[in-house]
């Protein structure tokens, strides 16, 4: 059937089969997303960001859920609050008063509104001080909306210093002591610093079921002394939230969105290139095998049989274990290993039938050469028959790439869906309950596979009249 009509009929049929329509819409969405990624976020930058290490992402919460999670869970989980003396804000006040000689008094107030119904995941303070020899000395105070004022710690600052409130042992002891005294307990209880700092001090604070978050304006006050003339302190307060962006973050505070975004074009191009190239190469090999017959056929068939006996996936695993290569070299390896795949056998059977068609005989009778017959007469007739299979196999290769990455054998650089799952598994994400981390890449994998499957099955119906439902 001519190509133009084919396409016209194909479109007609696709609209007839609702599942194909769904598949096409899904695939278009995925492709749109991939194109958006490619144009908006250069690959080099994505790889650099992905491999940058924890320092880069220090302002991000760890294990943050995606923000849209509230659509399902409800509530108002905290987002990350960052205040810094380097930024212009009326919530940050820094006063330096000379006291005597080179010494000055410094006071920094950082105020912020906290109106969420859950505690922050962490609270960190980062200091950046300038001095020659004499380190500044400061005290950190926390003032709750209800006026309670706690002096958390005194610190002699190094040039780059930090105060991780959530994990600081002194702070923990201090807070326990305060609670013991205020509530008249016999021994100091273990209180999570975030819970203490963001709740009113009462009996409830001991019971995680009853305790509530105190909403209102909080102040972090840092007071201290600078001992040199040009000495200065910059402070950054990070109150880490529990949600981040549209994809959340992983154990390294990295936004998972990087890999989710770039995983799409990589998966599509890997899957489509592998499926189409392998399909075409197998078809050409099969056509040559069937048409020439004799020794050529024998040779090709024996190679195929040997190749079929070799287990594809274990060999691929072995190769990827020995050589760490980029995803595109992996693609070449996959193509090389699949060239003489099962397709050669089944396509050859089609070509053997076709070989006997009168029009092929006619072509011989008017002098067509062997190559002309293979490429002008045999392949164009079979091509439509193998397209559904090609489309269906895209999903296979998308999964293959992901599977290698999940096993830690994929491209070490590329931010892919499989890589995200691999990271999640290594961190025990499911064990710790971070389902989003696995579900996001996994569901994209499944959606991609479904979209190709829906389209492939319909194409099969279109090109293979025996499956047609009319």
């Amino acid at each position: 059937m001519p190509i133009k009509n084919r396409i016209k009929n194909a479109l007609k049929t696709i609209f007839f089969y609702k599942s194909a329509l769904a598949g096409i819409i899904l695939l278009l969405l995925i492709i749109g997303f991939a194109l958006y990624t490619v144009y908006s976020y250069p690959y080099e930058k994505a790889v650099a960001d992905w491999r940058a290490g924890e320092k880069t992402w220090l302002d991000n919460p760890r294990y943050a859920l995606p923000e849209w999670i509230t659509l399902f869970t409800g509530g108002n989980p905290p987002k990350t609050i960052i205040l810094s003396t380097t930024m212009e804000s009326r919530n940050v006040k820094k006063i330096v008063v000379p006291v005597s000689g080179n010494m000055s008094y410094i006071r920094i107030d950082m105020r912020f509104d906290y109106n969420y119904d859950d505690y922050p995941s962490e609270i960190n303070i980062f200091f950046n001080s300038t001095f020659e020899e004499l380190n500044p000395k400061i005290e950190v105070e926390w003032i709750k909306p209800d006026g309670e004022n706690i002096t958390l710690k005194s610190i002699v600052l190094n040039k780059e210093d930090s105060y991780y409130i959530s994990v600081d042992l002194d702070t923990k002891d201090l807070l326990g002591q305060i609670v013991k005294e205020k509530l008249g307990l016999n021994e100091s209880p273990y209180i999570l610093p975030e819970r203490y700092l963001f709740s009113p001090l009462s009996e409830d604070i001991l019971d995680p079921q009853k305790v509530v978050v105190l909403n209102g304006e909080y102040t972090l006050r840092i007071t201290g002394y600078l001992y040199e003339k040009n000495s200065d302190i910059d402070v950054k307060l990070v109150v880490y939230g529990k949600v981040y962006g549209w994809a959340g973050t992983d154990n390294l505070r990295r936004p998972i969105s990087i890999a989710i975004m770039w995983g799409t074009p990589i998966a599509l191009s890997f899957g489509v290139t592998a499926a189409v190239t392998i399909g075409l190469i197998q078809m050409i090999i099969a056509a040559i095998s069937a048409w020439f017959g004799g020794r050529v056929d024998d040779l090709i068939q024996r190679i195929t049989e040997v190749n079929l006996i070799l287990p594809f996936f274990p060999i691929l695993l072995m190769i990827s274990t020995f050589y760490k290569f980029s995803i595109w070299v992996l693609l070449l390896v996959v193509i090389a290993l699949s060239m003489f795949g099962a397709g050669v056998k089944s396509y050859r059977a089609l070509f053997l039938q076709l070989k006997e068609f009168p029009y092929v005989e006619a072509a011989l009778s008017y002098g067509a050469s062997n190559m002309r017959i293979v490429f002008r007469y045999l392949i164009p007739k079979i091509l439509p028959l193998i397209i559904p299979g090609m489309v269906l196999s895209v999903a296979d290769f998308v999964f293959l790439e992901a599977a290698l990455a999940v096993l830690g054998l994929g491209d070490p650089d590329a931010p892919t869906w499989g890589k995200v799952i691999n990271d999640a598994l290594r961190d025990g994400a499911l064990f710790k309950g971070y389902y989003y981390w696995v579900l996001e890449p996994a569901s994209l994998l499944v959606l991609t596979a479904i979209s190709f499957a829906l389209i492939g099955f319909t194409l099969e119906k279109i090109f293979n009249p025996r499956l047609r439902e009319m």
Partner: protein, 329 residues
Amino acid sequence: MSGERLLEVTGLKMYHVIRKGLFGGKFYIKAVDNVDLTLDRGEALAIIGESGSGKTTLGKTILRLYEPLDGKIIFDGRDVTHIRRGELKKYRRETGFVQQDPYGALPPFMSIRQILEEPLKIHKIGTKEERLEKVYKALEEVRLTPVEDFINKYPHMLSGGQQQRVVIARSIITDPKLVIADEPVSMLDASVRVEILRLMESIQKKYKLGIIYISHDLSTTKYFSSRINIMYAGKLVEGGPTREVIYNPIHPYTRYLINALPDPDANNRFVKRDVPPGEPPSLINPPTGCRFYPRCPLFIKGLCDVKEPGYTYVNENHWVKCWYYEENR
């Protein structure tokens, strides 16, 4: 029959090889066994036989789609029996082939224009414009007019008769001297058969084309060929001018064949036809001597089943290979 000799086939043999099993021996299907025939320029010859008689193999062997096992094919004064490559390609340009199933004979994914251009491209005939001109001319020749209505269509959009016209146009587009038409109308409706045959006849006369009609149907070839050869089990058994063979058949097989064919007549239903017993022999292991003897009522024991009959001439142009006739003339 006077005229310039176009084709002369002598002692032609073509056996198909089949292997049984991995270690089994070879078997030969003796599809064409010792066939002689001649064809003059501009002449229409019919070869009549049942399916499995080897008539299609004979046609394809003459076209050199098969390599003959033995014998000679002299075409236009040249020996083409075993030519290869360049010479074979040249021979392909000088011959045309019309097959039985017109839809199957046309690549379904090519437009009519592409289909007709293929032989021209293969033989590097003309420029692009000249080729298109030739395509137009060929389509006009087979009366697919106005050409514009057909040239960009695909085979499945045409009726069987129109498809067969395209096949005919393709077979004559390289200006061949010989066309072999293998059951050109048997898949078509009765009402268009005559039309297609008339068309072939007019082309044949116009271009002095030699045509070999291969058919199982005596009654159609009667009107479209001047000479007729009857083939049975890989051998030609009788030949001569068409009407002479039909009105005065000598070979018992020919007689049966003619007898078995009804003409439209209401009385047919009251009479039974005289049909020989049995079925045509296997060509792997055909009978010795005359291949028709196991079914023949005139069979002479010790002669027909031993020795192959030779040519016996009924008259100058009409010959038969039959011991009974030879012995009883």
